[in-house]
Amino acid sequence: VSQDPHKVSHTHGGAPGGAFNVVGKPRRRVDARAKVTGQTRFADDLSLPRMLWMKLVRSPHPHARIVKIDASRALAHPSVKCVLTGKDLPITYGILPVSQDEHALCLDRVRHVGDPVAAVVALTEDEATAALELVHVEYEVLDTIADAEDALNKPEPRIHEYGDDGNVHKRVAFEFGDVEQALKDSPRVFEDVMFFEGNTHLPIEQHATLAAVDENGRVVVYSSTQTPHYLHRALTKVLQMPGARIRVIATPNGGGFGGKSDPFNHEIAAAKAALVTGRPVKIALTREEVFYCHRGRHPVLMRFRTGVDEQGKLQAMSLETLLDGGAYGSYGVASTFYTGALQTVTYQVPRYAFRGCRAFTNKPACGPKRGHGTVQPRFGQEVQLDKIAVALGKDPAELRLMQLAQPGSLTANYLKLGTMGLGKCIELVVEGSGWKQKWQKLPFGKGVGLACSSYLTGAGLPIYWNDMPHSGVQLRLDRMGGVTCFCGATEIGQGSDDVLANMVAEVLGIEPRDVQLVTGQTDVTPIDLGSYSSRVTIMAGNAAIQAAERARDLIAGPAAKKLGIPRDRVGFADRRVFDVEDPAKGLTFEEAIVVAEAEHGTLGTVGSYKPPASPAKFKGGGVGPSPTYSYSATVVQVDVDPKTGWISVEKIWMAHDIGRALNPTLARGQVEGSVYMGLGEALYEESAFRRLPEKLSKANVHKFPSLLEYKSPTTLDMPDVVTYLVEEPDKNGPFGAKEVGQGPLLPIMPAIANAVFDAVGVRIDECPIRPEAVLRALDEKAKGRPARIGPASFPAIPWPEPLKVPPPWEGGDGTAVNEKPRKSGKPGTPYAKKPIDTKPSIDTVTP
């Protein structure tokens, strides 16, 4: 065990000579068989005897006061067993401690079309559906707040009684160095206003929950959730029950992408209904209802002002963002911070200012979608860099390569970087795509575009303040040779089960399929905070390594004694425990366990992980820090038809610095999946809303809450993708691994925008990039006007006085010079300043 157990450093394998047993070998994932044979039991596959069905009465109004609810006719329906309303669940909840603004069933106010008002529980789903019409709800309709600018202009009626003011949920402002002065001193300043439309996760599995009261009187909630622990906490709060009497079991998710990371109203209502009726209660959402759960990408308007020298070297950057948050807080405060967090981790930005504002609007709440909050400003930043390169006559690849952020460095906003393979990534895609022969050299209508990105490998802080580990693993070794790995990590399709099996197998010299996995059950498995922020591989992975190393230590001693060799000569590989100097001499893994159990008694170990402390000590500095960052670079080649503006993506080259590819098959799948999702965001998908003529109606509905009309690409729309995995092992990553689930999504959208410019010479400063925008821009160009489509201006927002944090090279120490002393560590405030615990988290080892 390393001296500093919370910083496990593993860059070599468990086999003799540091070779890897399992890591780096392309393998079929451990859950593949169950998935392809249909044996995986998703939440909607579950059924229990005497199970009832629940459906939710949803608001038809975007904004209204609930005057009266009369459920008597529904209760008289012979099949209906119970009807719940807001009064049955009056306690608020929300994923962030600072945004406890949701009711499982609306109490006195509905805030978007689809907000649930009552839950009807009946013998069958059909009857529950039919009985929805029997619940009479009287509303007093209020004015609709349609979008972020609407919210800025209309403080009344307020959607929530909390927030900064009016319909502004949150405003934040930071300054890392004197940015205005640096902009004045910069030879060239580029200003761009851009817009990124909202979009949604679109997991193929629709959310479903089954709640029941078990034989011991505990509430069991099976749900398609990415965050069973946070759901557990919300249930404890709203149901007013001790956590020990609630069990949350995260079923395998058929895709999540951030859309199943909040505690949801249907989950809480189902649990309550199970308690009230004493019978199992199930709810399976329709696709339209999934659109109402949403928590997807925020629509973001942004303004960049960036100063560069004559060579294009960044001098300073000022970024303002305006987020359309929808009707609830969700992760929104974090999302707001995230829109300004990662501008500094790809290229050296000596001075940086960020101001962000999130507004409440009468639409389903936005939240975290793959790339959480960093996707929109990354689009803006990478498109602006392309403009800078063109304006200065520089190759965009060279412009980036000359000012890469340095590995291990501290950024202007106090993010501590780990390994940094972006340079290699750029070189690979430039070489692979023939960039030098193509950029500005292809015939009119054809073009290439380049963009880069970076993403967190796990959020440095948990959602709620605590000093405990973020992930834990227990291993159980039995005398029949079995190894069971218990971990709270949740399989959402990304391969978290495979990572756990991979780590344990690597260290113990067995096969991943030898490892029995028990995951995502709050009463059985140790904590894992959830499958979000690309944190599972690094956190559960490091915890698993620690537990497995402790198991190896337990086995090695007795095995050495049995073999009559010194302990340091014991090797683990090929399901054997043997003498590394005479491999023929050894025990089977099973025999080794037997001797170990004889010596120690019952064998079990634990491991846990907590990210290193961040050097950012200022308020708000908790969003952005990560144990390490992944890097991606892409080149996209497009064909643009100048007569119609139709964009055809011909080929994509994507390089991703993953630190170490634990299972390259899975890693490539994540890269290709990110490319696919990016393509949808770039060209097709938008959470567009429909307002009817205001004189006639206050309606504000999602334009097309369906799989048919919400246009997500299909396999037929996928171009060829060439994937390069760059491995720059990071000391904080398990065997050096960094994230791959989110990062490669980010550069796709700006690369396509840049490629469109290269093809036909027009700038589309908005995403998605619609063919009609390309055509309009070409019209403008033909008329001799600026060939650019995008937002005209950024609204004047009364920003608060920024927190002034001098960057490290200007004598800063990570604190703000103008920060008022705060009440220290107010419980439940995620970003409150607390002395950051630098002690390693100590784990008890059993026995």
Binding site: D641, P693, K703, F704, K711
Partner: protein, 355 residues
């Protein structure tokens, strides 16, 4: 899960039985062929027939014939996949039809959906193709008033064009414009008899009464495509994704060229830019060679009647502009030009896997 509302199912074995069942059911009855249009609509409560008359068991609806005069007759019950594969339809002159049928939604839907069903496809609109709850949130629309609560009031609002007296839902059938371009006819059978009318006469430019040419008690039984020796035809479809979207614009064109490449006859139809397929006059092309100038001038004229509105995918003004380019592209393809990017996009279909 969304489920269909309860209904009584009638399974006739002959066209006559079907026609009688339809007459007997009155306004409560609807015909079910492949079900790919009606069943999703029923789940969304856009249509809630009390009697559903299933045509699956009516064998005569599947019969196809090659007639002595060189024309062909296709049974309305032929599946779309069957239409694509039909030896009768597989001629160069009829390529507009086989291409159109091959581009309806997905392979799965082509295996279920029928030629007759596609001709009778309900008109589509973003305000209408939504489930009951969504439509309640906009207080319903002219085409689908609140059927569930049995309210008498029809709100009379078409949200696409609130000032308009009519419904602007979009004709979204792929096969109809193709068959218009081929000059096809259809046979309609009722308990009182049968009649044959041109395909175009089935339709009216009204999102609700779009099938005005077919009486409610008539069953569409056959499609007759004339002999077209020397013709060539094509079908261009605009949709977001090559895998399964409805058209938001389509152009069907058929041409017969005479000596020296002079146009002898031509028919062009537009789809998905009105509440019915639109036939475009080709007079300006007749008797002339297909020069670029002639085609450009024709495309300008042909796109004029297209009136896309804000009730489908893509911006309406863009769809209008692309109409012209699609007309031009389709005719250039028939002239024999090399395929453009546009054509590759427009003609993007699933790769054919031979058995």
């Amino acid at each position: 899960m969304m489920r269909v509302p309860p209904f009584r199912y009638v399974a006739p074995r002959t066209v006559d039985e079907a026609a009688k069942a339809l007459r007997d059911a009155g306004p409560e009855g609807m015909l079910l062929a492949g079900g790919t249009d009606l069943l999703p609509n029923m789940k969304r409560r856009q249509q809630t027939p009390k009697v559903v008359i299933g045509l699956r068991g009516v064998q005569e609806l599947k019969a196809c014939l090659a007639n002595q005069d060189g024309s062909i007759t296709l049974g309305a019950g032929l599946t779309l996949a069957g239409t694509v594969k039909s030896p009768y339809a597989r001629q160069d002159a009829y390529r507009a039809l086989t291409t159109a049928a091959g581009k309806v939604a997905t392979t799965h839907i082509q295996n279920m959906g029928t030629l007759g069903g596609n001709l009778c496809l309900d008109t589509r609109c973003n305000y209408y193709d939504q489930n009951y709850e969504w439509r309640k949130a906009i207080d319903f629309c002219k085409k689908a008033p609140d059927g569930e609560a049995q309210r008498e009031v029809t709100h009379g609002t078409c949200w696409v064009a609130p000032g308009s007296p009519r419904c602007w839902a979009v004709s979204s059938t792929d096969c109809a414009p193709a068959l218009v371009a081929l000059g096809a006819q259809v046979t309609l059978v009722s308990a009182d008899g049968r009649r044959t009318i041109p395909v175009l006469s089935l339709y009216k430019n009204d999102g609700m009464d779009y099938l005005a040419g077919k009486r409610r008690d008539e069953v569409l039984t056959q499609v007759h495509v004339p002999a077209m020796a020397g013709w060539r035809s094509t079908y261009w479809k605009l949709r977001r994704r090559g895998s399964f979207d409805f058209p938001v614009l389509s152009v069907a064109a058929a041409l017969k060229l005479g000596k020296g490449g002079v146009v002898e006859s031509a028919r062009v139809a537009l789809g998905a830019v009105a509440s019915c397929p639109l036939e475009v006059s080709t007079e300006s092309l007749i008797g002339k060679p297909l020069t670029d100038d002639a085609l450009e001038a024709f495309a300008d004229l042909a796109a004029r009647p297209a009136r896309p509105l804000d009730n489908t995918d893509y911006h309406l003004s863009w769809r209008k502009r692309v109409t012209r380019e699609y007309v031009l592209g389709a005719l250039k393809e028939l002239r024999g030009d090399a395929p453009s990017l546009l054509q590759r996009t427009a003609a993007r279909v699933l790769p054919v896997v031979s058995a």
